[in-house]
Chain length 274, copies 2
């Protein structure tokens, strides 16, 4: 029936919040063909007017109002944008007003304030955690395990590194990882470095055919990538996790966001991003 | 005047969207003492009722209604949560209704749909990009530069790796990085590996005293961390960037989110997360 619909993501900062909410909303309309236009750092009236012209010219050509997802905090800029021929979904303004009313407190509506570095301790925590994760990646640096909040265990390519990086970058969590290999012996007993940190261990498993596909992409037609070896390693891994009573999750159909959130919840970890 | 205020982040998925919008809103109230409670994966009526009890008991004890930030899509679950003694800020429902009305299309309100893996191509792109960035980190793997969308250049500890990881994880951008060291000679001419990729280069600089502080934390009292050497390397770097006409940004007071968004905008990169 209808052609592509244009969405503008407009922010006076990075626009990451607008993109984040916008994407989530749009998954509720999976069959709509979308053209997405990102306009971050719209922090002057001049830039706002340029975006308004762009929006209006799309409206004039298509006859359909574009949708604007915005998180602009400044009143003057928001008013300017709202003059366009568009449907504006404002992810900030109404909620800030609700909070002001409920708490009986004025808000601090500064341009870019929502995305800046003013919350330095939390930001520094995230970068420190990221550096920690990078320095301990893939079984290196056992001497840093005492500082870990969580240590992921799993076979090669089961998703440990992306999960650790996400935990660090978003939650400021010190996440290390320990890679198991194809040495059967190591599955009989936890290595000393892990035994001392038992309560921090969390396992990742994955379906053998999925692991086979991931490894084949990287090292095609090798023993390492063979389905038989994937099955064998994963069986060893799962037996170990069950025997040692280590909590674990199946990463096969879960995103890093879902795996990370599950780990934080199940392990009762403290988020340092807040 | 008032004591701490309790905020609940409630979602039937990971709650990452609720946390993201919520944090941005709360930066507008910097002086409010907050207690943040994260309740992800509230995907059954039973779990919803448990959260409602928790909210109501806080209200009864404190006499002040907690604030709920929610992104619950399912009507029955949202109704259950809305029965609590709280001020509910719903980041989804009203906007989905607005889009349904404007587009004259029904939405696909599935539990967890907003955060799931159904958008597989974009998700896989992000993980592929992350693996790419990890494999090319810190000047390794020049043979992969032809596949890069962007190659960051800068001195050691100027923020290249966190920025590359963010670009990859969030925008699905293939971001490599090239580390300059204290060898004066290399600043006279771009190495062959970079020359061939000239149009992909983007520089990071940073204030010398900031770099000195970062390096001192890692390797205190070394020549590497000395202010003199930081000044010297950064001068060389900046001269090179200006002479070669390579775009660059000062990372000193910018978050990885801001740096990454600026790079995408200035380089006209295509986001693969959408």
């Amino acid at each position: 029936m209808s052609s592509s619909k244009t969405i503008f993501f407009i922010s006076d900062g990075t626009g990451i919040t607008a993109a984040n909410v916008g994407h989530s909303l749009l998954t509720q309309f999976p069959n709509v063909q979308l053209i997405k236009q990102f306009r971050p750092f719209i922090d002057t009236l001049e830039k706002a007017r340029a975006v308004v012209s762009e929006i209006n010219s799309i409206y004039e050509k298509s006859g359909e109002k574009p949708v604007l997802f915005t998180t602009i905090v400044d009143d003057a800029l928001r008013n300017e944008i709202s003059q366009s021929h568009a449907v504006m979904l404002d992810f900030f303004h109404g909620f800030i007003e609700q909070l002001e009313k409920h708490w009986q407190l004025p808000s601090n509506t500064r341009i870019g304030g929502a995305h800046g570095l003013e919350n330095n301790p939390a930001y520094n925590m995230r970068i420190d955690a990221l550096n920690y994760t990078l320095s301990t990646d893939d079984g290196l640096g056992y001497q840093f395990y005492p500082e870990a909040d969580v240590i992921l265990v799993g076979v090669s390519r089961s998703g440990k590194t992306p999960t650790c990086l996400y935990l660090a970058m978003h939650f400021g969590i010190y996440a290390a990882n320990y890679a198991y290999t194809d040495d059967d012996g190591q599955y009989f007993e936890l290595p000393a470095a892990l035994k001392e940190q038992r309560q921090k261990l969390f396992g990742l498993i994955i379906a053998p055919d999925h692991l086979h596909a991931i490894r084949s992409k990287r090292k095609p037609n090798t023993d390492y990538a063979s389905l038989a070896r994937c099955q064998h390693e994963l069986k060893n891994m799962k037996d170990l996790l069950l025997r040692e009573n280590i909590p674990f999750i199946d990463a096969t159909v879960r995103s890093v966001e879902e795996i990370s959130t599950t780990i934080v919840t199940q392990m009762g970890l403290t988020r340092r991003d807040v």
